[in-house]
């Protein structure tokens, strides 16, 4: 072998130690190996971060964000000490205070509220991965006002799935990447969930299987799809219902699956005008009735040996009529209203393409059936010698959910999956533990508060009808500040974080005293109507007092929201903290393994900061909250790690499932173990318990899964999970609006219940478009999150901001031609609510009525310790300025939130706009007054790692 002259050390020293923890550069929670190496000053520093090959989520790979963790950890925007506001709200002027003073102020403010009127605390968290702690803490405090960011993120996806089949995309499920023959991806930007989707797409492509993308924008994942459906925003539901129309017409439905696992045979009462018209017919024991197709008798759906019919009129014992769900369903979708030719123009997709895709779904599901030779037993005791798969899988995300019709659209997608029998079968969609979990196994929401007492149950949950709403005694006034679980959004399972500030400012339904927020950038990219929210946060009443009197905020970085807080509790970076990625919360499981994970301080903070959860536990102790305080008045948990190991949600079940029991030998259930976190660290930061092979599929009806779930503490008994094609709770709300029952919506709301609460998946036009002039605002405008930037966090990152430092508005070529725009020009984009000036880039691979830009690249001047000249604040912009949190006024004096009427999901993507050419410029508009940053600051130039290079 020849050798080059240049003598090079090809085995240089890499690192002194590798510590394995969980990434937090986005919400995907990949496992990372953090290589540490001593620097010139003898301190351990990060040499390199790579993916953990053993980790169930990322199996060794790591995305751009995760790979830029070094720059996040050493960000100039890191907060360094507790702060007390000294200037006006919004200026960012603070004085540093000691933690003792910070705790003192917070305890005084919160203690006062708790004594007088606990609902005057609104505690909302952003991309919080410790919701099982933050919600429980707030429950002990006793305010009804708690939620995390799900309401403005993807509650439609979660609620649509859980109400329909006891699961949901992403955290609670996954496509069967290894077996699927056809994968269809709807409305997925390049983030959720980052690495697993890329790994999965790669598997599907390398097996030569087809990927269809349904998305107005053909970037990222959509760019590599075999077929692109450039749907017009907000019409996906209509597209899917048209597919269903075709499937029914072709007879491509799995009747056996429908009879076994769904409510397709359940009888629905047909008695127009009656109190129970449209509800299920039940026997004396409350069991749903079906019609046996051999005997014609009406018997309970779970009677052994019953062969339920799917059609035909049944006569109930009282002489009234009822028909099976499936007959109603077939009648609805076979209508020509859903024929591809009828809807093609509305959805912007050729009818021929809709028909071809329907045929392909049908052919794949029924002619490429997959058989896994694995015997299993269903919950009725029937033994099956194999698992049969219909290998069509789906995934969907915010493009579906962020519309005012998103809940119904999400249900439509699930209906299609169920009709072809592809939920939790080989090649289809798969549940991830602890799911499936239907609403019968979910909590109901709790809001009835009493001074000095904990709330009687969790804040958030799933309602079954008007009886579960959180309303005042008048049956109309919402109990919660965000109006969740009220007539405005009855099934708002994640709350409505986007309405908290707006409602508190309008004192509707009431004013609050303390707004407590955690890692939620509400005065910038996490709010609709950013300008308006900034004003609401700083508005004063006639006495010169702030309308929202006190704001406590915790964040690790000098974000836009910091400037609006009165008291700042500085958090740590993700590498300096403990965390539990818990099965009580948003788990990291895979279909064949129940998994959870931790974070731990792989580096000690060099600032006077505390992990927020530890600070919260300390506050709980100081406030004397029940279950957070010892008898002698001292805090029960000294810090988060202590809580993670010691807390039991119910006997034997706590935040972490692994290494439980005093000897650390138990999994799922077991006594607390004080070496538990050490065991996680030894195992690379996670635990993984494999699901038995006979429980790999059909978990919704699989006795082996049920036994495993009970043994592991995921549930306390077997849970029946019958897929709800026809969703009775929706019908109950309609009945209330028709004047039935004790609790009825106000007159003003009745029409929307009639229109939007169809118990069968339905489509209606997104609200904003119906309330403005389509002629004036003919275009749609969307944002997408880039793969290399997560929300606002990325801009403080010296590496990531070189990739996405400013964001053009991508405009379809024809639109550009019609208003005379070229690459590099500037344009005004106007909605009924606002106007922005932005740089333009011409694009072809986009729906012809749709403009789009990257999300959350624009920054307020002075935030994140960026210079005032940073491209992010000069050229970067937010679309949020165009989006109102309220719908256009209807003259009824009411404030209608810009949300899905069912779940309250923020309808970001309903936005309608127009475009005109603007004079060339250097800066985007609106121009917002700068704030001051309060982070540690950074060097002008960075040469990271210099001390280790020659």
């Amino acid at each position: 072998m020849t050798k080059s002259e240049y003598q090079l050390d090809t085995s240089p020293h890499v690192s002194d130690e590798i510590r394995k923890t969980t990434c937090y550069m986005c919400a995907c929670r990949c496992g990372i190996n953090v290589h540490l190496r001593k620097g010139d000053d003898g301190e351990m520093k990060i040499r390199y971060i790579e993916g953990n090959r053993d980790h169930p989520i990322n199996k060794g790979v790591l995305c751009a964000k995760g790979s830029a963790g070094i720059m996040q950890h050493y960000s100039p925007a890191r907060l360094k000490k507790p702060l007390k506001r000294v200037g006006e709200r919004g200026e960012g002027k603070f004085e540093e205070i000691e933690w003792e003073e910070a705790f003192g102020i917070a305890t005084e403010w919160l203690g006062d509220v708790r004594k007088k009127d606990p609902k005057k605390l609104a505690f909302f968290t952003g991309r919080d991965q410790s919701q099982s702690l933050t919600s429980w803490w707030t429950q002990q405090f006793g305010t009804p006002n708690y939620a995390a960011h799900g309401g403005f993120c993807s509650v439609n996806m979660a609620a649509g799935g859980i109400y329909t089949f006891g699961g949901a995309f992403w955290e609670f499920g996954s496509p069967d990447w290894d077996k699927t023959e056809l994968f269809i991806i709807f409305g997925v930007a390049e983030d959720h969930d980052s690495n697993p989707i890329k790994m999965g797409l790669s598997k599907v492509k390398n097996r030569g299987k087809k990927i269809i993308s349904v998305n107005p924008i053909r970037t990222g994942y959509n760019a590599i799809a075999d077929e692109w459906v450039g749907v017009t925003p907000g019409t996906d539901g209509l597209f899917v219902l048209s597919l269903i129309h075709c499937m029914l017409k072709m007879g491509r439905v799995d009747l056996d699956y429908l009879i076994r696992y769904t409510n397709a045979p359940w009888l629905v009462i047909q008695d127009e005008g009656a109190e129970d018209h449209g509800l299920f017919a039940r026997d004396a024991d409350g069991k749903n009735l079906v019609m046996d197709r051999n005997s014609g008798k009406l018997i309970a759906y779970d009677t052994k040996g019953v062969k339920p019919d799917l059609k035909g009129e049944a006569i109930l014992a009282d002489g009234r009529k009822a028909v099976p769900v499936f007959e109603l369903l077939a009648g609805k979708y076979l209508s020509d209203d859903y024929a591809p030719e009828k809807i093609a123009e509305e959805v912007g997709v050729p009818a021929t393409q809709i028909r071809a895709i329907a045929k392909e779904i049908g052919d794949t599901a029924f002619e490429k059936e997959i058989v896994v030779d694995q015997p299993w037993t269903d919950m009725k005791g029937e033994k099956h010698d194999k698992m049969i798969g219909r290998p069509v899988s789906f995934h969907a995300m915010r493009g579906i959910s962020a519309h005012s019709n998103g809940f119904q659209t999400c249900r439509a997608i699930h209906l299609l999956q169920i009709l072809i029998g592809s939920i939790d079968c080989p090649g289809g969609f798969r549940f991830k533990p602890p799911y499936p979990r239907p609403i019968s196994a979910q909590p109901k929401p709790h809001g009835a508060y009493k001074i000095g007492a904990p709330l009687p149950g969790p804040h958030l949950g799933f309602v079954s009808g008007p009886e579960d709403l959180l309303l005042d005694e008048d049956g109309v006034t919402p109990l919660r500040i965000d109006k969740a679980f009220s007539w405005d959004a009855p099934m708002s399972a994640h709350g409505l974080m986007h309405m908290v500030i707006s409602n508190a400012h309008a004192r509707d339904p009431y004013g609050i005293d303390v707004l407590f927020l955690y890692m939620a950038n509400m005065s910038w990219n996490s709010s609709m109507n950013t300008d308006g929210v900034m004003k609401m946060l700083s508005d004063k009443d006639e006495n010169g007092e702030y309308i929202i009197p006190k704001i406590i905020y915790s964040d690790a970085y000098s974000s836009e929201m910091v400037a609006y807080a009165d008291l700042i509790l500085p958090d740590t970076t993700y590498l300096e903290r403990h965390d539990a990625i818990s099965l009580l919360d948003r788990p990291i499981s895979e279909p064949e393994a129940m998994c959870d994970a931790i974070r731990w301080p792989v580096l000690e903070p060099d600032r006077d900061v505390r992990c927020f959860q530890s600070a919260l536990l300390e506050l709980g102790g100081r406030l004397g909250l029940p279950n957070l305080t010892n008898e002698d008045g001292t805090p029960k948990y000294t810090e988060y790690a202590d809580y993670i190991q010691q807390h039991e949600r119910k006997p034997g079940v706590g935040p972490l499932a692994g290494w439980r029991g005093e000897d650390g030998e138990s999994h799922g259930r077991g006594a607390p173990n004080e070496s538990q976190i050490d065991e996680y660290i030894k195992n690379g930061g996670f635990s993984e318990k494999h699901v038995p092979a006979e429980a790999h599929y059909f978990k919704h009806a699989n006795v082996a899964w049920q036994d495993f779930a009970v043994e592991m503490g995921l549930q306390d008994g077997h849970v029946e999970n019958i897929f709800q094609l026809y969703l009775e709770p929706l019908r109950k709300f309609q009945l209330a609006a028709e004047g039935k029952g004790e609790r009825q919506p106000p007159e003003t709301h009745k029409e929307r219940y009639k229109r939007c609460f169809d118990p069968l998946p339905d489509w209606y036009a997104p609200f904003e478009g119906t309330q403005i002039s389509e002629e004036e605002y003919p275009l749609h405008a969307l944002t997408q999150r880039p793969a290399a930037m997560y929300h606002s966090w990325g801009s403080q990152n010296a590496w990531l901001r070189q990739i996405h430092g400013s964001n053009p508005m991508y405009v379809p070529k024809d639109v550009c031609d019609s208003v005379g725009l070229q690459d590099g020009d500037w344009a005004y984009i106007k909605s009924y609510h606002g106007k922005i000036k932005v740089p333009v880039k011409v694009m072809g691979a986009v729906n012809q009525k749709t403009l789009w830009t990257w999300n959350a690249i624009g920054k307020r001047k002075g935030a994140w310790n960026l210079s005032d000249n940073a491209n992010e604040s000069n050229k970067g912009f937010l679309l949020n300025h165009l989006i109102n949190e309220l719908l256009p006024a209807k003259g009824d004096g009411l404030r209608w939130s810009n949300s899905d009427p069912i779940t309250g999901q923020a309808a970001w993507f309903d936005l309608r706009v127009n475009i005109e050419k603007a004079p060339a410029g250097l800066e985007s508009e609106p121009k917002i007054k700068p704030q001051k940053s309060v982070g540690v600051g950074g060097e002008k130039n960075v040469a990271y790692g210099k001390e280790w290079t020659k």
Binding site: S4, Y48, K198, I211
Partner: protein
């Protein structure tokens, strides 16, 4: 002038699969974080938190919009009886994005080596890796100028030429587990779109992949004989012609009343 070796024992390089690259930049950033503390001077970033930050990177992704010359598979809704003025939502439905990662291609006839006045730019005879011996580099920039691919970047702080080393400090590194002795960009790629190996060995994974998938040279007309290869996007898995399907369906489709008849028969079959 610096000499190229007449031949190299190995030809180490990358295969980049354009069919599954989603343009996520994982390889770009992981490369930066490994190499800034690795071979030679750090990869500096000027104006790190100011206007127009500028850093040196060894690997970048470029995104291009292309419109292949094909007939669209589907006609647009206007031809189905909808309003003739209506535009198909998918617009020019053939327009698509191609994500194109680019780093040094470790050419066999590397002009960046022969142009170097000091011998700093060199190609290793043992494995074909093109490196810059930074102690000899005077920062004249001739090599970057001569590279037709724009694959070299002058570090803005150290004024020394930076380029992909194929992670020469990883691939032979005894301090790393064997499985990790691969370039950082390959190890981290979530889509498995990057592969590393020896193209001199016709039986290596990369050689086989290139053969099977029609791996291509970038700009072969430049006669640089790049070692790295790109796998072109696969032909899209196509649905059969949409119009035919539509016609077939309308013939075989059941009327609404026919559906109930079908249902009867189907249920009967189930017993």
């Amino acid at each position: 002038m610096t000499q190229l070796p007449t031949q190299t024992d190995k030809k180490l390089g990358l295969v980049i699969d354009l069919d599954i690259c989603v343009g996520c930049h994982a390889c770009v950033v992981n490369c930066k974080e490994w190499n800034t503390s690795g071979y030679g001077a750090p990869l500096g970033d000027t104006n790190a938190y100011d206007a127009d930050p500028l850093g040196s990177w060894l690997n970048r992704i470029h995104t291009y919009e292309v419109t292949p010359q094909e007939t669209p598979a589907y006609d647009n809704p206007s031809s189905t009886g909808a309003s003739p003025s209506h535009q198909c939502g998918s617009g020019d439905s053939l327009a698509q994005l191609v994500h194109f990662p680019k780093s040094c291609l470790h050419c066999e006839d590397a002009p960046c080596v022969t142009v170097c006045p000091t011998g700093a730019s060199m190609k290793r005879s043992e494995d074909g890796i093109v490196l810059v011996e930074e102690d000899k580099c005077i920062g004249c920039g001739l090599c970057a100028w001569s590279c037709p691919y724009g694959a070299r970047e002058m570090d803005p702080m150290e004024n020394v030429m930076k380029k992909c080393t194929l992670c020469v400090d990883r691939i032979y590194n005894d301090n790393l587990p064997e499985i990790d002795r691969t370039p950082a960009c390959v190890r981290t790629c979530p889509a498995n779109a990057r592969h590393f190996g020896d193209f001199a060995d016709p039986n290596s994974d990369v050689s086989i992949m290139v053969k099977e998938r029609g791996g291509m040279d970038l700009m072969p007309e430049m006669d640089t004989k790049p070692v790295n290869k790109y796998l072109p996007p696969r032909a899209k898995v196509k649905t059969s012609d949409g119009l035919e399907i539509a016609a077939e369906q309308s013939k075989s489709e059941m009327k609404a009343d026919g559906f109930l008849g079908w249902l009867d028969k189907a249920l009967e079959k189930m017993g």
